[in-house]
Amino acid sequence: MENISKIDLLWIYRKMKTSRYFEEKMEKVYLEGKQPVFNIGAGPVPGEMHLSNGQEPAAASMIVHLTKNDTVTATHRPHHQAIAKGVDLKKMIAEIYGKKTGLGKGKGGHMHLFDPNVKFSCGGIVGAGIPHAVGAALANKKRGKNWVAVAFIGEGATNTGAFHESLNLAALWNLPFIVVIEDNKWGISVAKKNATSVTSNAVRAKAYGIKGYSVKDNDPIEMYKVSKEAVERARKGEGPSIIEIETYRYLGHFQGDPELYRNKEEVPKLKEKDPIERLRKEMLKENEATAEDFKKMDAEIYQEVDKAYEFAVNSEYPQPKDALEDVFCESLTNAIKT
């Protein structure tokens, strides 16, 4: 952990822990109203739910290098990046609960979180967020700012046309753009080896004449260093990078996934190497923080997250007719045909 400031280490721990606690709580509330018989459309949080437990290092150890002027685009599995990027937690949970107070007034849902204040967005179409980040990077270059744009994707998204077109554009125009590939081995039920013709997506950087990095075994420290270099290079106008990190998907693709396609030992093995626990132990060993510090920090985190959930639970639902608003900047209400 040489030359990583204690502040950064604590920040990374805090964000990873916040995300983990957030997701574990979401895992529970998602099941409300879905028992004894699971029904995806029932309960206070209906629809698909993609959780990121185990994938926290990718988000926290990259985003620690970003400011609110830097852009992040994410995917259908967006909570860990959203939390690291500083998306308003209350409004984010309220959105997931479909409340009027949510980021999108309940119109978006968990796959569609937009917080322009911290330049965060995500979406449900694999690969589609990559060019959005390229566009933000283009805007930054046009404005002469040293702001960067980072697209987070899964390893499965590297085989979409959007990936290729976006990387070529970013490289061609030498944009401050980084793509972080969270290789959790799976695209739903399709293993990386059955989807991607190369074992490491870092080599794909060669196809664009840019820099490619791989981070092994979900290591928050290694991810921190690699990201630092990539972000600094981007800010200096030295062009885009591809970063692929081996990470862990503890849960199913979405909640309710029977997971018949992977063997039962995989996850327990991964959990033995839990990245948050690893970082905590490291920091204790290196005396970067005491057991007390962690206890205090964890308590703060639980309280913050719990409060945000409360806010969401206690918020109002939108009115049915609100569905007709926000299609365009001006209201559509009077233009409706029926």
């Binding site: 309940g106 499965g156 085989n159 039920s189 059955n194 569905a323 045909k337 029926t338």
Partner: protein, 341 residues
């Protein structure tokens, strides 16, 4: 052959699909299935469950998330004599591959003057109602219906699902086969009676381009598709109590539309309501209204009613989603407006 009244079994929409695929794959080994999670997973909406174990990875192929790649590959494989069945999980995702669909799959037979045949079936799940939001709840019926060179079908009941899927597989033309999530009878979604039905065990075909009168009535014709047919039938029961006998037509074929069945019904009821789970503008309500207004005009005694998703994206929050997707209640309201016109 038409459905034989012999040995039948109560199956869900999903099981009906699987049975059709299995029986046809046993019959013809030029058939193979490609798509995301069609293998071990068995299809996100249960369209291929068990087929990977029966036929192996050569004939039930998982693909990368490369829709233009594998749907484009279906063109090449079909031109070489195979009969690819390709699934793309949600209809919403087709935006990444529409070029292969409308400029190639739909037009190559025509542009080649009939020299090239592309017996491809594209299977995809449609529909909302379970809070999956704007990018996972669409039907996009008309987005496919508008484009020449495609037959687009959307069966409702298990019997039609099996029979029309077999017809689609045996057809030498490209077919878009849309199945509705809620009608698959999946254990993890809403359970509705319509998703269960008697299905003949043997292979049989149901014509692809015919609508079906699923309830007789004399006062008004209601045309629906998939879940809108189910809601229309519910509404018809309620309306009957009010003394209004609605005739309900299950469209089944989005393209071509079976004009005859619709016009004949309207010539009897003189009233028409079209209900659609797709967007209002340029949708099914538009096309059917136009057909009747141009070819059945004199049979109409009242304005045509249109009920569809108002031109808004599908919102996530349950209260708003319920508001935009038509249901038996909004159907009843519309009928009462039309009849008392």
């Amino acid at each position: 052959m038409k459905a034989t009244k012999e040995k039948t079994k109560k199956l869900t929409g999903s099981k009906a699909m699987i049975q059709a695929l299995e029986q046809e794959m046993n019959r013809d080994d030029s058939i193979f299935i490609m798509g995301e999670d069609v293998g071990k997973y068995g299809g996100i909406f249960g369209s291929t469950t068990g087929l990977f174990d029966k036929f192996g990875g050569e004939r039930v192929m998982d693909t990368p998330i490369s829709e233009t790649g594998f749907i484009g590959a279906a063109v090449g494989a079909a031109a070489e004599g195979f009969r690819p069945i390709v699934e793309l999980m949600f209809v919403d995702f087709h935006g990444v591959v529409m070029d292969q669909i409308y400029n190639h799959i739909a037009k190559i037979h025509y542009m080649s003057g009939g020299a090239v045949k592309l017996p491809i079936v594209l299977m995809t799940a449609v529909g909302g109602g379970y809070s999956d939001a704007a990018q996972h709840s669409q039907t996009l019926y008309a987005s496919f219906g508008h484009l020449p060179g495609l037959k687009v079908v959307a069966p409702t009941f298990p019997h039609d699902i099996k029979g029309m899927l077999i017809s689609a597989i045996r057809d030498d033309n490209p077919i878009i086969f849309m199945f509705h999530k809620t009608l698959q009878g999946l254990g993890w979604m809403d359970q509705i009676d319509a998703s269960l039905g008697e299905v003949p065990e043997n292979a049989y075909t149901v014509t692809l381009n015919k609508a079906k009168v699923v309830r007789k009535g004399k006062d008004i014709t209601i045309v629906g598709t998939q879940m809108m047919t189910v809601e229309a039938l519910k509404a018809a029961e309620e309306l009957a109590k009010k003394g209004i006998e609605a005739e309900v037509i299950d469209l089944r074929s989005i393209k071509p539309i079976d004009k005859e069945t619709i016009l004949q019904s309207v010539s009897k009821t003189h009233h028409l309501l079209v209900v659609d789970e797709d967007y209002l503008s340029y949708g099914i309500t538009a096309e059917i209204s136009a057909i009747v207004a141009s070819e059945g005009f004199d049979d109409l005694n009242a304005p045509i009613g249109r009920l569809a998703i108002p031109d808004v994206p599908i919102p996530y929050s349950r209260v708003m989603e319920k508001f935009v997707i038509p249901d038996s209640k909004s159907i009843i309201d519309s009928v009462l407006k039309l009849i008392t016109v």
